[in-house]
Amino acid sequence: MAEQTKFWYLRHFNIFDGLDEETLKNVDKIAAMCTFKTNEQIYFPAEPTRSIFFLKKGHVKISRISEDGKEIILDVIGPGEVFGELTQDDNGESRNEIATAIGEVLICTILRSDFEKMLRKYPELNFRVTKEVGERLRKVEERVTELVFKDVKKRIASFLVRYAEEFGTIKSGIITVKPPLSHQEIGFLTGAARQTVTSILNYLREKNIIDFDRKQITIYDMTKLKKLGE
């Protein structure tokens, strides 16, 4: 890929927003681009944690498999976000998470040791990474809280709200969210059985609050959805 293009891509990462040219150019020098097809795994459990990934295009789901083979989705990440272990030592334990491409995915990778050098050099970037990790921390806190405070129906409703806020596009008051997640995946995200997800989504469709097909989720009535999730 042309150098110019890569540079342009980097510029559109949230974490690099508004950074000066010099910093951007230096990040660009140490970054490599790669693409993944849908459902392809981006890293595997037990693989040494050596790279940081910047997601340019597409979506990635981060999941974890429990010892007894159950899956939970920790996060769905969209364009502009960073993933991979930002916080480990080089001799740290191996990753026990799986990142899977949803749709065509374009990723920029940087060796973690190189990235850490960059962070030491550019305090502003360093601080942004802290904020990024901090924001994720808040998101996880929120999910733990919801699992305790809310029943399944509320959890699914408030998940849809967050998902729409993060990835949705509004047109004439109607929100369209892509990528659509399977009912199974929504179950993995909210701690609900697939059947439960299906019956709740069908209920929401009957009430004209949402609609969905295999390609997208549509939200007709965000206010009502929010209320159901509270």
Partner: protein, 230 residues
């Protein structure tokens, strides 16, 4: 408190382990130290998050309370850790948690703005803060599958094992954990009713795996406890 003593404490902070002497001196000037008695609030929800806190001695619990009055303990903070870090991530938002001391506690308070400028000037400190946040992130992520898949029995057992790892002291094969948590608190941490906690703990006691009184929690058979979780 004498300057000498205050400095000594800071030196033994985990989060400040990698920090050089110059930063440490600055930090010393920016913080105020105070002793807080047991069971006192340090901050409330809806307060502005203009301060950040370092815990030197004692334990602090961070909880959320639902509109219906349900409570969840998100975290128990130990010496060497930060808390109230929201101001770093999102300076304009109000806190949504309550922080309370669990025993007599020694706390250093500083303005978020000051800490931020300190981080900007010291990349090691910044990286350390990021790493600490990453560790907390993992701790939270690990609670999600427990809440989704494990029954109350296993959640409580798993919590005891983790709590022992973090705060316990081993002597002659017996792990002593202080402060002992109330059954209510263990309920708030694991998402179950106090009565359930009492039943589970009594069973563990009669099986001679643990013992407890109001001040101590003893784990007599740590391996068995772990087996029960898996």
């Amino acid at each position: 408190m004498a300057q000498e003593t205050k400095f000594w404490y800071l030196k033994h902070f985990n989060i400040l382990e990698a920090v050089d002497k110059a930063t440490m001196m600055k930090l010393n000037d920016m913080t105020t130290m105070s002793t807080v008695k047991a069971n006192q609030p340090i901050y409330f929800p809806d307060e502005q998050s203009a301060s950040i806190f370092f815990l030197k001695e004692g334990r602090v619990k961070i909880s959320r309370i639902s509109p219906e009055g349900q409570e969840i303990i998100l975290d128990i903070i130990g010496p060497g850790e930060l808390f109230g870090e929201l101001g770093l991530i999102d300076p304009n938002s109000d806190r949504d948690e309550i922080a309370q001391t669990m025993e007599e506690t020694l706390i250093c308070t500083m303005r978020v703005k000051d800490f931020e400028s300190l981080m900007m000037g010291d990349p090691n400190l910044n990286l350390k803060v990021t790493k600490w946040m990453g560790l907390r992130l993992r701790k939270f992520e690990e609670r999600i599958p427990d809440l989704m898949f494990k029954d109350v029995n296993k959640r409580i057992v798993g919590f005891l094992a983790k709590y022992a790892e973090e705060f316990g002291k081993i002597k002659d094969g017996v792990v002593t954990i202080r402060p002992a948590l109330s059954h209510q608190d263990i309920g708030y941490l694991t998402g179950c009713a106090r009565q359930t906690v009492t039943t589970v703990l009594n069973k563990l006691r009669s099986d001679e795996i643990i013992d407890f009184d109001r001040k101590h929690l003893l784990i007599k058979d740590y391996n068995k406890l772990k087996t029960l979780y898996n």
